[in-house]
């Protein structure tokens, strides 16, 4: 039996930094092999699925927005989609376009936050973006300017950046004036340039040579890169509706986490998020984003989780470009919202949150109150796959010094931009070597 320096180790991170919410990580290495990996999620449970019971269907977008302050629009949009599905309501194309514009704002804001403030410092061995600013102030300022434009889109369409107030089931309370939307064009053009610089910047980072055999799950739309709608597809050929997906996705409770673990019935763990979206939909990216991806060395799919930062940067280019297209084509929806007629029914809605597929399913009573709610946030869907990634990274990095391996484990978790607050029911690293 080997008792060398690295044969038995315990690696532990009590509180993972630069993730949204609270979590930790624990890895045990015995006889030079990874024995256990757990991503501990000790975010206090907030019981959204329970507190939604008995609320009116139109209250769901604002209540579920409070699950996550980083991606509230994702919650609002999935809730609206589910309620409109339940009540068999079709919304005007102009409403859909305005929703997509609002959602582009959230992608730009959330991705810029993750790329510049949460993820990039790892590639420089720095604790945070303040240290990064001491090294390269222009880069951090560029990231903050990008984030600002994302917030500006959310404020213009949604009324405010965190927990927008203008969204309602069926559409919006008031359609923004054409002048207010037109004023977004110039900031978005500058943001698109900054996004292209971001792609070049992150493409130059050094990446650990790791490839994982992911089962990718994302919305899919042959005609356009998915954000607010689409069917659910996978790298194994799945093609189903959000309601169909709700039946296939199985959630299990594990002792070390307040987030539920998801797997696809009969197929095991899967991954949602930028890598999955890109792998299933890169052919649908508009020319500018496709060129940026190609110049950054990305093929039709990317299976190196550390390079998710490059895919995220490409998605910022896409979101700025798409937002500009929507701004130029804007016509206010009239009326701004469709009317829903409540009925006893079940409805499901799935949209692409910046960090992955977000599914809501509601069972409604005849009076329009919520009888039961199920919410599958991207991070709880990704949690088991993140543990698989950790196993891979620790196995291939056993010769690294303790501090370096611990940092790499943390980075492995941050690769997937986990939003722990999001994991309604959901991280901290401990690597233990025995």
């Amino acid at each position: 039996m080997s008792h060398g320096r690295h044969a038995d180790r315990d690696i532990g991170v009590g509180a993972l930094a630069r993730v949204e919410g609270e979590g930790g990580l624990h890895v045990t290495v015995r006889d030079g092999a990874v024995e256990t990996v757990t991503l501990d999620i000790f975010e206090p449970p907030r019981f959204f699925e329970a507190l939604l019971r008995g609320r009116r269907l139109d209250e769901a977008p604002d209540i579920t927005a409070r699950i996550c302050g980083i991606c509230p629009v994702a919650y609002q949009m999935s809730a609206c989609a589910a309620m409109e599905d339940a009540c068999a309501t079709t919304v005007d194309e102009k409403v859909t376009a305005l929703r997509r514009l609002l959602y582009c704002g959230e992608w730009i804001q959330s991705h810029a936050l993750h790329v510049y403030l949460l993820h990039a410092p790892d590639f420089f061995g720095l604790a945070d973006a303040v240290e990064l600013a001491e090294l390269d102030r222009a880069a951090v300022e560029r990231g903050l300017r990008l984030k600002r434009v994302g917030n500006l889109v959310m404020e213009t369409v949604g009324g405010r950046a965190v927990h927008p107030v203008n969204v309602r089931v069926g559409g919006f309370w008031r359609a923004p004036s054409p002048d207010a939307i037109a004023a977004l064009a110039e900031p978005l053009r500058r943001a698109r340039d900054a996004a292209l610089e971001t792609v070049s910047w992150v493409a130059g980072f050094e990446f650990p040579d790791v490839e994982a055999d992911y089962l990718f799950v994302a919305l899919h739309d042959p005609d356009r890169y998915p954000i607010e709608s689409g069917r659910v597809g996978s790298s194994a050929g799945l093609d189903t509706s959000p309601a169909g997906f709700a039946e296939l996705a199985v959630e299990e409770q594990v002792p070390h986490s307040t987030a539920l673990h998801a797997r696809l019935d009969g197929q095991g763990h899967y991954l949602t998020g930028p890598l999955a979206r890109y792998a299933l939909n890169s052919a649908a990216l508009p020319e500018l984003a496709r060129q940026a991806a190609s110049a950054a060395g990305l093929g039709a799919a990317c299976r190196n989780p550390f390079k998710s930062i490059v895919v995220r940067a490409v998605e910022i280019v896409f979101a700025c470009d798409e937002a500009l297209r929507l701004v130029e084509a804007y016509e206010p929806p009239e009326p701004p919202a469709a009317t829903l007629v409540p009925r006893a029914a079940t409805g499901a809605g799935a949209t692409e949150a910046p960090r992955g597929l977000l599914l809501h399913r509601y069972e409604l009573a005849a009076d329009g109150t919520i009888a039961s709610a199920r919410i599958m946030p991207p991070t709880s869907q990704n949690q088991a796959t993140i543990e698989d990634d950790l196993r891979l990274v620790v196995s291939s990095g056993l010769d690294l010094p303790e501090e370096q391996l611990t940092w790499r484990c943390e980075q492995t978790v941050r690769n997937h931009d986990p939003c722990i607050s999001c994991s309604t029911h959901f991280l901290d690293l401990t690597v233990e070597r025995r």
Partner: protein
């Protein structure tokens, strides 16, 4: 710069049960963030930095409510390590949306979400920070307003009172010339009883205020509830209106309970 030679005041940001949106408001101060990071030493801010400096801290910002035994103990440690402690947002100041459990039994909530309730340890209630430790200032909002947050940080570090209005959203509508939804359309609006600070965002998009900033100081909620009922609102909807993100604030809690539908005998 070593911690010993760094004379800048230290700032710590703590998270309890919450959505992260209020601490995000600090990162949302895009134009001011690097200036703030230059003026204060951000010693503890897990969402932003891997580095953590031990206390004591000159100023702690606390987001989130207390919902677990561990957090009830942790807030005591945070208080002991902090010279000034400011709570930010509806979770920290009123218990947040997760405070709706205070109207139900926690066992019922756990069983709805988890197949194995025995793995989950949680308190039956979600309570504001001030219910556990003395708080130097409470900044309201769901989410808080980032300009108000900057004002509070600057005021606390300068040792002066923050200039934060205590009047209602009504006055913000008047200031921006928004037509009164309650009067002109009989739309349910909590503007007359809700603390100012958002800039009356909802009425500006033709939507009644839904009380994100919690009760204003002299809120006459009973009078407003009477008016909403006269205008045709159902009692259960009036109860729901007061029972959201600030349901734990006494004025909203009482009005919500007063309008709760009672079982008929």
């Amino acid at each position: 710069m070593s911690a010993a030679s760094d004379r800048r005041p230290t700032l710590a940001v703590w998270k309890f049960a919450s959505c992260d949106g209020c601490q995000l408001s600090l990162l949302d101060c895009e134009e001011e963030l690097l200036a703030v990071a230059g003026a204060v030493h951000i010693a503890q801010f897990t969402e932003m930095s891997r580095a953590a400096v031990e206390g004591p801290y000159d100023l702690s910002l606390v987001e989130g409510s207390i919902t677990t035994y561990e957090d009830a103990a942790r807030i005591q440690e945070v208080r002991r390590a902090s010279h000034r402690l400011v709570t930010i947002g509806a979770c920290a100041t009123a218990g947040g949306i997760q405070g709706l459990r205070n109207f139900a039994s926690a066992g019922e909530y756990i069983a709805t979400v988890y197949a194995r309730p025995d793995y989950i340890s949680t308190l039956a209630t979600s309570t504001p920070i001030a219910a556990h430790v003395p708080v130097d200032f409470e900044l309201h909002g769901c989410p808080i307003d980032r300009h108000q947050l900057l004002e509070v940080i600057l005021a606390q570090l300068a040792g002066r009172s923050p200039r934060i209005p205590s009047h209602s959203v009504c006055q913000e509508c008047k200031a921006r010339d928004t037509v009164c939804l309650l009067v002109s359309r009989r739309a349910p609006c909590l503007g007359p009883v809700t603390r100012a600070g958002c800039g009356a965002l909802c009425p500006a998009v033709d939507r009644g205020c839904f009380g994100c900033f919690g009760p204003a100081e002299t809120a006459n909620t009973a009078s407003l509830a009477g008016r909403l009922l006269e205008d045709g609102a159902r009692r259960v909807d009036v109860s729901r209106l007061f029972r959201t993100f600030n349901a734990g604030a006494p004025a909203f809690r009482e009005e919500s309970l007063a309008n709760e539908p009672r079982p008929t005998r």
